[in-house]
């Protein structure tokens, strides 16, 4: 297990190095000068020169790469050109919206998907299964921003249980903050849970056909006991893969939902900094997202090994 973990950790480190190189070179070494690109066509030469030295463009590429990576390792992501504030601060504000939102949505989606998938699998071909499959078909097909608008319409405008948008901030207390994230989390979770429930169902159905499930029944386990004790864990591998992918998506891909609910999240930050051609912010946020996604992949790999002893013993 230790060897497996070390190997995965090594692969995590290598992926990060490669990712940082790719991001750095794509953004910095593209033809043309980042400073003149950022300032647009009508910029004055002296403004460009000032930005060049501010960006550190007057030293070699290798030195710039090393100082960029070195800075990030110390938590220094540089200073936003547009906002004139440290990028670390900007990310810091927004990650405390995006990360909890992604985790909240993922928890909801798992809580909905697991029972729905298990229920559908255990009643394969019966009305219960068909109902779940129909609902998830709808959930996969309907875009999350439509759910978002419906939720606003029902729970914010008609019932007035939640506010229609905005984030109150964690300083108002965890319940209040969670409350303002609830509608966006639901809107994000619904399509994800539909996908996850379908994956769960089909993974379980595959496992139900396995010989060891028949063995379990021959030992005297009821259908339900066999499903829960022998089926579920075996079905987890494909489900974990999807959960890992969904987390990555929820973290960066929530941009439309962030717009609908006026949430100051990472998706909006990227969108705004791309519009403003603020390469320093783009570069840093992308690197941070890549880091989080690779980290999640690493955690999913560890989860595989926790579930499956065959992976643990493989050297």
């Amino acid at each position: 297990m230790l060897r497996y973990t070390l190997k995965r950790a090594l692969s995590l480190g290598l992926s990060l190095v490669v990712a940082s190189l790719v991001i750095f070179f794509v953004i910095e070494v593209v033809p043309g000068d980042p400073a003149s690109f950022m300032l647009g066509l009508n910029a004055q030469p002296d403004t460009i020169a000032a930005l060049r030295s501010e960006l550190g463009l007057d030293v070699s590429k290798l030195e710039r790469y090393l100082s960029w990576v070195g800075g990030m390792l110390q938590g220094d992501f540089g200073t936003s050109y547009t906002y004139r504030t440290p990028v670390t601060e900007m990310i810091g504000d927004r990650i405390w919206v995006s990360l909890p939102l992604a985790l909240y949505a993922l928890t909801l989606s798992t809580l909905i998907a697991f029972p729905a998938g298990i229920y559908a699998a255990s009643r394969r071909g019966k009305p219960g299964d068909m109902a779940v499959m129909g609902a998830t078909q709808l959930g996969v097909a309907v875009p999350n921003f439509w759910f978002a608008m419906m939720l606003v319409l029902i729970f914010a405008i008609n019932l007035r249980w939640f506010s229609a948008g905005g984030f109150v901030g964690w300083e108002k207390g965890v319940p209040a903050a969670m409350k303002s994230l609830t509608l966006p989390a639901i809107a994000l979770a619904l399509p994800q849970s539909a996908i996850l429930a379908r994956v769960m169902r089909s993974a379980l159905l595959d496992v139900l056909g396995e010989d060891f499930m028949r063995t379990a029944r021959a030992k005297g386990l009821t259908r339900r006991q066999a499903l829960m004790r022998h089926g579920l864990r075996n079905a987890l591998i494909p489900v974990l893969t999807i959960i890992g992918m969904q987390f990555s998506f929820l973290l960066a891909g929530a941009i439309i939902i962030e717009q609908v609910f006026f949430l100051p999240g990472l998706g909006r930050l990227i969108f705004q900094s791309i519009s403003a051609r603020d390469l320093i912010v783009v570069e840093s946020v992308v690197m941070l997202l890549v880091f989080l996604v690779i980290l999640v992949t690493f955690l999913v790999d560890l989860a595989y090994a926790a579930v499956d002893p065959r992976l643990r013993s493989r050297t």
Partner: protein, 540 residues
């Protein structure tokens, strides 16, 4: 006193009638073998006794365990009975165990399902049971996972699970079909001992008549869901009544009429000191790779028109050698020459024409979306100017006729054929380029005995008509004995013995060959048996 009594059991799934009025019984300590070909309903009979039938199955008749009617039990009391009063062992030990649970957990689970006791005590009982089935704790602790065990060892775990609660009835569904002969002999011995020790009844489902004759006290012969004949083993073997029983036993002892081998032909395939290594995963990041030597310097020749057998247990390197001979994988040392050309993955396509192959599984070795005609003509991509139009149709018609099918079958899809017919198509595909050497890789192992006998006859006939040489690879010694002139015995990547088939089988020299031949169950000589009983029964 009867332990299990099945009376007039009929079973249907939808409009399909699976079992018809099946009746038999088992006494404590008795081994009853239910035998028959695939589709005879023998496995369904076993599942019916377990009451683990598909939900859509409808049954009538009675299944009595002692004085309890199983068909009338609630699901709850059935669960209490399964694993407790009736244990079951399955065919495929590689998949019958949950890969994510330790063997200790899985055996202890049977115990704790049916008795309230502390975990430690259940584990102690599990350990004792695993030791009893031949997995002592010092070498096979409870913490082992299934993937760390061999097929035979896994089957022992499955048996330990099934007998952990000392059930009165044990059902074994093809318990040794997936195992090597030497392992099979050990598992059969274990089952016999357990039946005696626990005074269990054993319902054994098997298609292998040699195993049946060797193990069973009584035999039940089934065909298409019906019991055609049953009785005491010795008596039934000596006095078979039903034509199907006679045909079944005749087929499994089938001797093909092989044309005499002619000496003095040139070698068409020559394997010289062939070595095949597989790279093992690195143990340390920068450690040099270590290799597993699957084929360790093998040499042999096959001459024109010669029929050579290759026997050995799983993992001995048979398949690796086959792939090398087909030029699918490179050798690490030595050489293989076929028809004067060096065999290697990069050999010219034309050089492959004269060597063709037939694989084991008639169900998965064809593309289901292609018609038979297209499947058959696939080897023609090796030919520079393949026949077209009428000539092509004629060639297809010829090979189909050659293997006993109709030229019109070329227009059908593969799912329209039975297993035996598919294997004929596989042979036709191998024949279409008019090869001189065919490799049969376990080509009859998946077939029922009567179909197998027909395919073996076909192979013998083709060998006569086309002066074919072949390499017949099989784990089934009796089949190899009947269709080959010369045999190679392989163990751990080496050929430990080779010689004329009859000589090797009657006077094996190498201890491994002796072990193999002794372990293989053989049908007793039925004619002699019937004479003997007749004299015994003759009036004094």
């Amino acid at each position: 006193m009867t332990l299990l009594s099945v009376q007039n059991l009929s079973l249907s799934i939808g409009p399909l009638s699976i079992l018809k009025e099946v009746t038999f019984s088992i006494a404590p300590g008795e081994i009853v073998a239910v035998t028959g070909e695939s589709g005879s309903g023998k496995s369904m009979t076993a599942l019916a006794v377990m009451q683990l039938l598909p939900e859509s199955a409808r049954t009538s008749g009675h299944i009595m365990l002692r004085d309890e009617e199983l068909t009338a039990q609630s699901e709850k009391s059935l669960c209490a009975m399964r694993g407790n009063c009736i244990g079951m062992v399955f065919q495929e030990p590689m998949t019958a165990l949950n890969p994510l649970h330790t063997i200790g957990q899985q055996v202890a689970e049977t115990i704790r399902m049916h008795a309230v006791m502390p975990k430690a005590e259940a584990e102690a009982q599990a350990a004792a049971m695993l030791t009893r089935v031949g997995l002592p704790q010092d070498r096979f602790p409870l913490s082992r996972y299934p993937h760390e065990l061999s097929g035979g060892q896994r089957q022992r775990v499955v048996i330990a699970m099934a007998i952990a609660r000392r059930p009165r009835l044990l059902i074994a569904d093809e318990p040794t079909t997936a195992l090597d002969v030497t392992t099979q002999a050990k598992i059969l011995d274990l089952l016999k001992d357990l039946v005696e020790e626990f005074d269990m009844g054993l319902l054994m489902i098997t298609h292998d008549l040699a195993v049946v004759a060797d193990m069973a006290d009584r035999i039940v012969v089934m065909r298409k869901g019906e019991v055609v004949e049953q009785g005491d083993t010795k008596h039934l073997l000596a006095h078979m009544q039903h034509p199907y029983t006679k045909a079944l036993f005749a087929a499994s002892q089938h001797q093909v009429d092989l044309p005499n081998a002619e000496d003095g032909h040139a070698a068409i395939l020559s394997v010289q000191n062939a070595v095949r290594d597989y790279a093992l995963p690195r143990t340390k990041l920068f450690a040099p790779r270590s290799f597993h030597r699957a084929v360790k310097g093998i040499s042999f020749d096959i001459h024109q028109g010669e029929r050579v057998g290759l026997v050995g247990e799983s993992g001995c390197g048979k398949s690796t050698l086959t792939r090398a001979i087909l030029g699918l994988e490179p050798l690490q040392d030595g050489s293989i020459t076929a028809f004067g050309t060096a065999v290697a993955p990069d050999m010219p396509a034309q050089a492959r024409i004269k060597t063709q192959v037939v694989f084991q599984d008639p169900y998965s070795s064809f593309n289901p979306r292609h018609k038979v005609g297209r499947i058959l003509t696939e080897p023609f991509h090796l030919v520079d100017t393949p026949p077209t139009g009428v000539a092509l149709t004629q060639v297809i018609g010829e090979v189909l006729t050659d293997v006993g099918l109709q030229p019109s079958d070329a227009q059908k899809y593969i799912h329209e054929f039975s297993g035996g017919q598919r294997q004929r198509i596989a042979i036709a595909r191998a024949l279409i380029t008019k090869p001189e050497l065919i490799i049969f890789d376990e080509a009859v192992s998946a077939l029922d005995v009567s179909i197998r006998a027909q395919i073996l006859d076909l192979i013998a006939g083709l060998s006569r008509r086309h002066n074919l040489a072949y390499l017949f690879i099989s784990h089934d010694l009796s089949v190899v004995r009947s269709v080959t002139d010369r045999v190679l015995v392989m163990q751990n990547g080496e050929i430990v013995e080779q010689g004329e088939t009859e000589t090797v089988f009657t006077t094996p020299m190498h201890p491994y060959t002796q072990t193999l031949i002794n372990a293989a169950p053989v049908l007793p000589d039925l004619a002699a048996l019937s004479d003997k009983t007749e004299t015994a029964h003759a009036p004094a």
